[in-house]
Amino acid sequence: MSDFDYRQKAWSAGLIVLFFLAWELFCLMTGMSDLVLPRPSQVFVTLVEKFPILWPHILQTLATTMIGFVLGVGLGVVLGAIIGVSKTAYDTAYPLLVGFSSIPKVAVVPIFVLWFGSGTVPAVLTALSICFFPIVVNIATGLATTEPELEDVLKALGASKLDILWNVGLPRTMPFFFASLKVAVSYAFVGAVLSETVASNRGIGNVMMTASSNFNVPLVFAGLFVLAGLGVALYVIFSLIEGRVTGWATRKNDVITT
């Protein structure tokens, strides 16, 4: 199994290197101006040079993302649990939720700014509002798919709804929950950066905005690289936690290969 794992990782790394090489070659061969598309090597140089300036903005974006994410997860779990336990709540609330989630969040940012001024608060709120939906859906689905037979067995024992939720429903949703966390954390990033781009004087989104109005295209791309790096890092962290907590859901593969 591990042999296969390493080979898979090598292929992934190879693909990334190949992507940057192709990009670099493309720019060199076409003589592309760095005002349009800078070469990755230029971007890396800029990234290293400007890192001291970028660092506080990275922290800012990371902070707003994580606050928005944590609040969004809290809200998502509560809403998802309510909706998942009760069929009536599910049917009643779903249209409203779908309505909310289909509003483009970029359209909401000006409203948040109107209410709370520009800066950190709208970024946090945008992150929250964009990331809670996948969590609601996944928790609700996980709860709604509990085997009816098992529920009958427990009800016949006199188990309350809370007993069933606690012993069966919530543990069962964990794989769904962690899968949704990985998605939600990327969404939260998008939300935070979006809001920073529109209305903030701090954060990576703002740096990119300023850089592009100064035609400092390599810095814009450096910002993109930072965002991509942070996104991957958060994704990896949540994947690792997921593997620890919900290993039982994926363990079947071990049986087949060993």
């Binding site: 037979e149 067995v153 016949a156 919900t246 039982w248």
Partner: protein, 288 residues
Amino acid sequence: MMRMQPHSEFAGAPVSAAAAPIAIELSEASVTFGRGARAVPALSTTTLRIADGEFVALVGPSGCGKSTILRLVSGLVQPSSGVVIVGGREVAARAMRVGMAFQNPTMLPWMSIERNIMLPLKIVEPFRSQFRKLRKTEFRDKANALLEQVGLKGFGNRYPWQLSGGMLQRANLCRALIHEPRMLLLDEPFGALDQFTREELWSILQDLWIAHKPTVLLVTHDLREAAFLGSRICVMSARPGRILDDSHVDFARPRTVAMTFEPDFVALNQKLRAFIVDARTAATRGAA
């Protein structure tokens, strides 16, 4: 109407069926699902008395309301009319704490087998309040003692995905029995197993019944299974079900698989089969 003291102990129940108190009583009970024009009758007026410690097998064509009787007794379904009395009390919504097992063993994949089996102890009093204290000692021993009885000694630490279907079904029986229920309700527990595993589990279930003497209500499609396990067999008609025949099975215990090929046993099987074939043809004629 007879009112009995609910029994809380396994041991000490009288063995003779005639003298035993009534454990389950359905009086003129019927069940209809839905209302108005959409109403589906699931069980027509049924009266059935089951003595304490009896092993009753319910057979009949599919969809005839066998499972509905189980759900009535367990309190999962309320009768649309009539009365259901279990253990001397009217079934007031799932107060009975019966042990149940279905065809799907539904072991929780994130728990070891012994923790799966201990799940009812987390829910039913008096075990519930002691669960934290005793789960690593007394309760675990209890789970493993049951596992040993069904031939799964040493499998307590395994996870459900490491066990075969037959093994999971044995664990399922253990989970249904761990809280020492007076009543065991089985809904086609062996339906998904191959013939040999199934016969093996018949003997295991028979041994469990002889050891613990709970009242058992077994719903099955398999006539040999009904005749092998049941001390009494009720044959039901097609939907909406009612009881067509109710007879005692007097083969000596413990019964063996070899006995199922003896003439008496085969004759009983043929009798049961005839009832169900008639019920099915009656149903198709009614539908046409």
